[in-house]
Amino acid sequence: MEHTSRLERIIRIVLVALILIFFLFPIFWIFLMSFQTNEDILRIPPSPFFTPTISNYQALITGKLVSAAGTLDIPFMRNLWNSVLLSSVSVVIALILGVPAAYAFARFKFRLGEDIAFTLLSFRFAPPLLVLLPLSLYFQEIGLTDTYAGLIWVYQLIALPLILWIVRGYFEDISPDIEYAYRIGGHSWWRTFTRIAVPLAGPGIAAAGLLAFIFCWNNFVFALILASADKQPVTVGSLAFVTASGIQYGQIAAAIVLSVTPTLAIALYAQRYLVEGLSLGAVKG
């Protein structure tokens, strides 16, 4: 490996550059489009040089799209708010439920423990529609259709398994001796859990929470089936927006940019933990 020739080094750099272009160009291009007027977008040949405008973002933020055909209401800000609400509340609930469970699986060898853990993991792999379609009929009967509560409940299927298996790994990495020492000092189990175990696994818990947030945010099919327009997150909302105003390309691009920015920012911030999180703790980053 030390004997890399100059030619090989150049080839490597060219290849990596091509790869980066392939994977980053779409994001870059949509970002440019979001600052273009429709005339700029429709111009042939497409050009990265234009006078940027913020009118697309203005239209999205004010919720009013003024065009020759009249004024169109865009509920996109509502979708963005729904995404924030659904993802963050789901993750907080999943953390409250998941962290103690993860601790139980990591510290105690109890009957049915592994079975319960695997049942929870298996939810990660079942086809979502199998559960969602009958669930949509049940939700109609019990009045949970199109409610935040119903959606947040179903979102637990995304967030809980993730948090459970990642956080469990972090608890297993902490030596139980520290906890025993604290217990012998006369402290209750609960104090040991909240004062010693949780702070020590803190970075892991934070990483699992952020990843779960990304997964909830990026989810599409749950809300597509269980939510109507005013409860939909950005993933479903953007598609509806495309169908409703198929020709406002600049606004569509701006909506996409606003929708992906939070997850991309979190990903860059927490990238150290992503490998471990994505493989549910099977591969150390």
């Binding site: 779409p26 599409f220 099977a282």
Partner: protein
Amino acid sequence: MTAETIQAPRRRRKTKLLPYLLSLPALLVCVGILIPFVTAVYYSMLRFRLNLPAMKGFIWFDNYINFLSDSEFWNTVRVSLLYTGLTVGVELVFGLAIAMLLQKQTRFNNLASILLLLPLMTAPALAALMWKLMTNPNFGVLSYLVQLAGVSDFKWASAPSTALFTVVLVDVWVYTPFIMILLLAGLRSLPRQPFEAAALDGVPRRFVFFRITLPMLAPYMITATLFRLLDSIQQFDIIYSMTQGGPGNTLLVFQVRSYLEFYQYTNVAKSAALLVILWAITYALSNIFIKQWLKLRERARGSA
């Protein structure tokens, strides 16, 4: 002292119950979801259309038997397998190649591998919309570039002959980084000695790759592949937001087909039967997966 001895048995029972108490809430939240699962299996054995409630009746396995002679069903099986095979195959080769290019820990390589995470963190449904804008026949930059390269009449997702290519491309764009980062972590965790010994002995690099790198990386590749197989055979987001399963029936994979069966044709029973078949496939796959994943996890924990 006496208080302590009296309390002891009670405390022991408490610690015995404790793990159940801790994991129960999480389980209960998810068990509610098992009910619809059982319902789906039951629906799949009914004659049940939402628009014809009077016809509802129990018909055992007729829905499944009807699939055997249903060419639409076999089309769904074919498209799903093709989609899965193509995406996972391309992503594995591509992901491995990129991981090997970025293996050396330089600042540039680390930055590149971080930037490659961005597609993976984009919602697949939104990624499909991004590509839809770029392949628009009127102004899409990719349509323009393809034309510039001399291919006229390339219609991307709107023509049956290229629709599969287009959605596979989007899938590759989103998920290759997943395989890449798993394999990169794997490559960087491999012991150095075999590679140093091979370099000392002047072993050809192709030999090193096939006889040392690949076998040692195999557990990581299997885990990554199974992960992707499980997701890819269930793909919905990309295909649905790109073409809704069209044009015609070219992209009607399992989940898209059952979604349309449910909402467009209101045929609840048929939709459920399709999903139960898909579930059986994923269940078999996930059993293999979990065994493999546990092995790798054990190793990661052991070396920590």
